[in-house]
C-alpha cells in the first residue's frame, strides 16, 4: 500500500469510546433465507419450512452467517461510517436468537476501545460492539469486532528503504 485516498467517513482520530451509530433497517423474507442457505448453509432448518418444524428451531430460521452478512451490509451502508471502509481483522460472534422470515433487522454499534497501531502510524484498531436486533427488540447477533481504521495521516514519500514520512491530514 502506498497512499490512502480521501473519504467522507470518520478517521480513527475522529472516533471516541462510547460513540454510537444506528443503521437503517432490512426486512428478511423467506426467499432470502432459503437463497442464502442454498448457496452457503444447506441445512433443513434454513431450506424447508415444513422440515424445519421438526428441528431444534421449530420452524424456518436464517443461517447465522446470513444474519452476519446482512449486518455487514447494514454497517457498510451507513451503519458504521468509517473512512476508507470497514476492514475487520476478526471478532467475537453470538447468535442469542435466530432470524426468522419477516424479521426487520437493525444494527446499533458502539465504540468500546481504541488503540493506535504501534508499528503503523497510518492506522489504529477500534473495538466495536454491533448489536443486531429484530422488530421485537430481541438481539439476533452480538458482534464484537476488531476493525482496522485509517488515521488522519497520509504517506508522503519513502525516502529510503524502511523510512516513510507521514503528513497529518487536518480535520475539515
Amino acid at each position: 500500500m502506498t497512499e490512502l485516498g480521501g473519504d467522507n467517513g470518520l478517521y480513527y482520530d475522529d472516533l471516541r469510546i462510547g460513540q454510537r451509530f444506528t443503521s437503517k433497517t432490512h426486512v428478511v423474507d423467506e426467499e432470502q433465507i432459503k437463497a442464502f442457505a442454498r448457496q452457503f448453509d444447506p441445512q433443513p432448518f434454513h431450506l424447508d419450512s415444513e422440515a424445519a418444524k421438526d428441528t431444534l428451531f421449530s420452524g424456518l430460521v436464517g443461517s447465522g452467517w446470513h444474519t452476519a452478512a446482512i449486518t455487514m451490509r447494514l454497517l457498510v451502508e451507513g451503519g458504521l461510517p468509517v473512512a476508507g471502509g470497514i476492514v475487520g481483522a476478526g471478532g467475537e460472534l453470538k447468535w442469542p436468537n435466530p432470524t426468522r422470515p419477516g424479521d426487520t433487522l437493525q444494527v446499533e454499534s458502539e465504540v468500546l476501545d481504541l488503540r493506535p497501531s504501534q508499528s503503523r502510524p497510518d492506522r489504529g484498531v477500534a473495538i466495536v460492539l454491533s448489536l443486531t436486533r429484530n422488530q421485537r427488540n430481541e438481539v439476533v447477533q452480538r458482534l464484537t469486532a476488531k476493525l482496522i481504521v485509517r488515521r488522519r495521516v497520509r504517506i508522503m514519500r519513502r525516502s529510503a528503504p524502511g523510512v516513510i514520512i507521514y503528513l497529518f491530514i487536518g480535520r475539515d
Copy 2:
C-alpha cells in the same frame, strides 16, 4: 421441539477431544467474490479489481463474511459430520490473511472441548476449532465455534408438565 430425528452423523456422545475432520475443497473465483460483495459487503476492495489496487489490500479480496460462508458450506458438506446438522451459538473469528481470486479453500476442524448440557439431557456443547486454509497453506480464517450437538437420547413422552422421559439411542 419434541423429537429429534435420526441421522447418520456423529452425536455428542461419539465426539472426542482432539478428534479431527477435513473438508473437501472449494475454488473461489473473482465472480463469486464480487457477487457476494454486491449482495452483502459492497466495498471497493471486494467489488472492483482496479479500485482495489489502491486500498489496504493492494488488490481484490473476498469479504471475510464470504470466507465464513464458504467455510460453513464446506463444514455442512461433510467437513463436520454431526448428527442433526451444524448449529452454532456463536464463536470467535479471525481473518489472518485475505481470500483472493483463484484461492482453493479447505477446512480442517478439531474438537477442542465437550460439555454436556446441565439442563437438557438431549444435547451437549462442542467447542470446535476450524482452520480455513488456502493452497499456500496460509490460514484465511480461524473460527472457534460453540456448537449445540445432539446426544444419543430421544424424548419419549412428557408425562406431566416439566417431566420428560429420555431414552438412550444405541450406537449402530
